[in-house]
Symmetry: C2
Subunit: 332 residues, 2 copies
């Protein structure tokens, strides 16, 4: 649906985490990432070639993807100048921001004049049903986090890649803009109307072969008061057979909520599992995914060993050390 | 905003519960309910005078309120005939259905031609913020249910009325179409975009006097897989100081989900309280509200005594026996 390859627009990202959309595309579909476009003051760097529009065009890029998320999601006047130029130079635009491309009259006018397309992947394109809670065939796994942005999507992508490598039946099911931009399909869950959230997750993960695994992209956290309702809908709409606990050990407070401490992995397990068993009484917590990007390798391995001993479950950083342990646990 | 009094449209309601919107208006603002309009096959009856449009007009009714909810919420062709006639006879229309009045071209055309107004109370009219989780002044109480439609709104309305009677500072905070039609304001929570659910509840229940109580209208149930995400957003956005457990003892399965049993009150308490304490560590479960409408008085009183003994908390049917016990518990 979205023409590839992409030029990844990082704008004036205040930090590396703000560019996680672009980072995800680069990590999981590197063949689609021709280069990065950074503005003055940009604090993110994907390690891709910095390109202006002309250079990216010459390198074959078809779509400028806004690869940066900011709280509130507003398209600033500074960004606008680049976006208008990109349309004029023949790029389509793709975005997962709350502030829609289609709601900006100047972008709409230029896109019409130049014959280019505006893709707002955050907007649902489907009339989702209300969830019916009926048991579906096939297996599903969901990562639930101690906080937002702790690596739930990467965990799902890593497990999916590992299963495919082993010849198992497996699908990554995107529920956010990065996942949708990576796979080209999915449910933009945080933009779905409240009553249809769980139904949209049922729609996303339909009946399948008994030995097929859906890796459902997690969102938010049961402990993050801004987004916990979205997490709840994933747990009940996804009716997972297995939960993975996801954690980032260096986080000092809940993301965006300085007054809130992170819960322990034990507290997360004890909160999430009874909720999951409402929809699927056989659900189990099978493993732990730790995002160790801010730890050196020795510290990471020591921490993982400690977590395994404390929780009695396999623990790994699937992005750094591979998802084998988690897939072994799912297969068992 | 909506002109009163109302003619309450019950359509072809399949059962009494389907007319709960109209029932709520009749119970809490009887002075606004001039009569009821029932079509062939209607299985609901509010005990109001049956009126046709001319009779209701003569009795002073200004607005035809669609007082019936149906799963899916579609405006049928049979309903449409009555609605068009009502506009032509000078009524405004008000509705809380998912199927909006404003999305029906014929209704829009007739309303424009006749100068009448279409009120879709389900549609948010405010750009809600993302929840920030900051502690707010004032007190808040939320009813959480073992199922949907077990009496959470009535519990809140009863406690609010009792507090006002005692001269306490108190507000009912509507989160659904019935509540909004009763009070004329509120948040249509099930129509809010997922990311903004908790923020809309924060917006609805702002800082207030230290001795003021917000009675937040509950929605859904943590144990109802279709709507649990909405319940979660109320618990975290509302940051209640007190929870009331709400239950309907004759329900044989979760509403609309024949495969799902109701949880026990103990299970509800153990699920809801730790979640509520994420947002408000001082939250307490203070009482139990039992909807005894399908029990005779002796059975109801015996059941309440049993629940009090088992749970160690005051239990009452606030609509049948008064909310005094619950307000006593809140005041303590």
């Amino acid at each position: 649906m979205i023409e590839t390859p992409y030029l990844l627009f990082l704008g004036d990202a205040p930090d590396q985490l703000a560019a996680k959309v672009a980072q995800g595309i680069k990590d999981w579909r590197p063949e689609n990432a021709v280069g990065q476009y950074r503005m003055d003051g940009c604090k993110a760097d994907l390690g891709l070639a910095d390109m202006d529009l002309a250079a990216a065009k010459a390198a074959g890029a078809k779509t400028l993807v806004i690869g940066v998320a900011n709280r509130g999601g507003v398209i600033s006047p500074e960004w606008k100048k680049v976006l208008v130029m990109a349309l004029e130079e023949g790029f389509d635009l793709a975005s997962g921001l709350h502030n829609l491309l289609r709601d900006e009259p100047d972008l709409v006018a230029v896109a019409e004049a130049t014959g280019r397309t505006l893709h707002d992947v955050r907007i649902p394109s489907v009339q989702y049903p209300i969830a019916n809670g009926k048991k579906r065939a096939g297996k599903r796994v969901l990562a639930v986090g101690t906080d937002c942005s702790v690596g739930k999507m990467y965990t799902a992508l890593c497990m999916d890649a590992e299963m495919r490598k082993r010849g198992m039946k497996s699908s990554f099911r995107a529920t956010g803009q990065t996942g949708i931009l990576i796979t080209g399909e999915g449910v933009p869950l945080d933009a779905v109307i409240a009553d249809f959230m769980a139904g949209s997750v049922e729609w996303l993960t339909p009946d399948n072969d008994d030995d097929h695994w859906d890796h459902i992209e997690g969102q938010g956290s049961l402990f993050h008061v801004s987004y916990s309702g979205v997490t709840m809908a994933l747990i009940h709409g996804g009716q997972p057979d297995a939960l993975i606990l996801a954690h980032e050990p260096t986080r000092t407070h809940m993301r965006g909520l300085p007054e809130y401490d992170l819960p322990s992995l034990t507290a997360l397990r004890d909160m999430a599992l009874p909720l999951a068993r409402v929809a699927n009484p056989d659900c189990q917590v099978v493993g732990i995914s730790v995002n160790t990007q801010h730890m050196d390798e020795d510290a990471a391995r020591a921490y993982l060993a400690e977590v395994e001993a404390e929780m009695g479950l396999p623990a790994t950083d699937p992005f750094r050390f591979g998802a084998g342990k988690l897939v072994d646990a799912l297969a068992a």
